[in-house]
């Protein structure tokens, strides 16, 4: 008891002073411009990708095309394709690749779901998982879900900006 009565307060004061010193040290490190914090972390906000993809998908669906000497838009073509997949698959595939190819090269996933199954018109390197942006088209035969995911393109573009050596427009090309 006697020993503790002498030693503990001294130690407590010591710890208290040490604590104050540490707090001061970290406060000093947090002042911007004085010290570059070793743990500083760079973050990239990726919400912009979704924003972009939504705009591109919207424009894709509104894109006018000429089919049998009639001007229709891509939404109409998708509905025609739903009714007659054999006849319209090629033209839908070509138009889709031409439109998205100009923006994302080969690095994107574009799917159309109908009540039968999922059809992929995008990159062959299909990556399952999250759909970045999607639109539901109501039809007589049931809803069609059209989804676009250009994540692959943006991750390659980001890598290319940081380290170089990759052309995001060509990197997913299947030769």
């Amino acid at each position: 008891m006697y020993k503790k009565a002498i030693n503990r307060p001294v130690i407590s004061v010591f710890i208290f002073i040490l604590l104050l010193l540490l707090i001061f040290l970290f406060w000093y490190l947090q002042i911007p411009g004085k010290v570059i914090h070793p743990m500083a972390e760079k973050q990239t906000i990726k919400a912009e990708i979704t924003n972009d993809a939504t705009l591109v998908l919207l424009n894709y669906l509104r894109t006018p095309i000429i089919l049998d000497n009639k001007e229709i838009d891509m939404t109409d073509l998708i509905i025609l394709w739903q009714n007659n997949k054999e006849k319209y698959s090629n033209i839908l595939n070509e138009e889709t690749k031409e439109i998205f190819g100009g923006v994302y090269g080969y690095c994107y996933t574009f799917n159309i779901y109908d009540n039968e199954q999922k059809y992929n018109f995008g990159s062959n390197q299909y990556m399952p998982g999250d759909s970045l942006t999607q639109v539901r088209i109501p039809t007589k035969e049931g809803d069609l879900i059209v989804e676009l995911n250009p994540n692959q393109f943006f991750s390659r573009k980001f890598y290319s900006t940081q380290k170089g050596g990759i052309d995001p427009y060509k990197s997913c090309e299947v030769k």
């Binding site: 020993k3 030693n7 130690i11 010591f14 710890i15 040490l18 604590l19 540490l22 707090i23 970290f26 490190l29 947090q30 914090h37 743990m39 500083a40 972390e41 760079k42 973050q43 990239t44 906000i45 919400a47 912009e48 924003n51 972009d52 705009l55 591109v56 919207l58 424009n59 894709y60 509104r62 894109t63 006018p64 031409e98 439109i99 998205f100 100009g102 923006v103 170089g164």
Partner: protein, 163 residues
């Protein structure tokens, strides 16, 4: 002898205690510090948000029929430097924009620039050490021209000066 030994043991454990307390405090402070010292890269996000005006605002290039505005449809009559200057006037002079409107096949329709003194740094974007940040993106757009709509591409390049 036994008493002295007891005191030594006591001191030893006190030192261990102190070390543990210090480690604990350092860990807690480090965690707090890391949380508050995150350096969030917002230059790209700022440029992106600014560039969204081109597509969504009728005061920029977005086609409007008088009743509603069509986001993503670029009106060629609106695609001018005066308009770009007006629609971005509340943004500071620290941002330069170079916009190239192209046909689907890549042929250039028109090019407009804002803050040309900054845009001239675009060819230097690949440099590692620079006091500005670059931002570029390509957007698939629809072009409204002579009451008709056709597909096109808008290339957006931006230079943001670091402060």
């Amino acid at each position: 002898m036994t008493k002295a030994f007891d005191i030594t043991i006591e001191y030893f454990w006190v030192i261990v205690e102190v070390i543990f307390v210090i480690i604990l405090i350092v860990t807690i402070l480090a965690m707090i510090s890391v949380h508050f010292n995150r350096d969030i890269e917002i230059n790209n996000m700022e440029a992106h948000v600014a560039s969204m005006r081109f597509f969504f605002s009728p005061n920029c290039f977005s086609y409007s029929d008088g009743t509603r505005t069509y986001p993503g449809i670029i009106d060629t009559n609106k695609f001018s430097e005066t308009r770009l200057d007006n629609c971005m006037k509340d943004y500071s002079n620290l941002r330069g924009f170079d916009l190239i409107l192209k046909e689907k096949d890549g042929s250039v329709i028109n090019e407009v620039q804002l803050n040309k003194n900054l845009v001239q740094f675009l060819p230097l974007c690949s440099l590692k050490k620079k006091d500005f940040e670059c931002f570029s993106k390509r957007e698939y757009v629809l072009i409204y021209d002579n009451n008709k709509i056709r597909p096109g591409i808008l290339d957006i390049n931006s230079v943001i000066k670091n402060v």
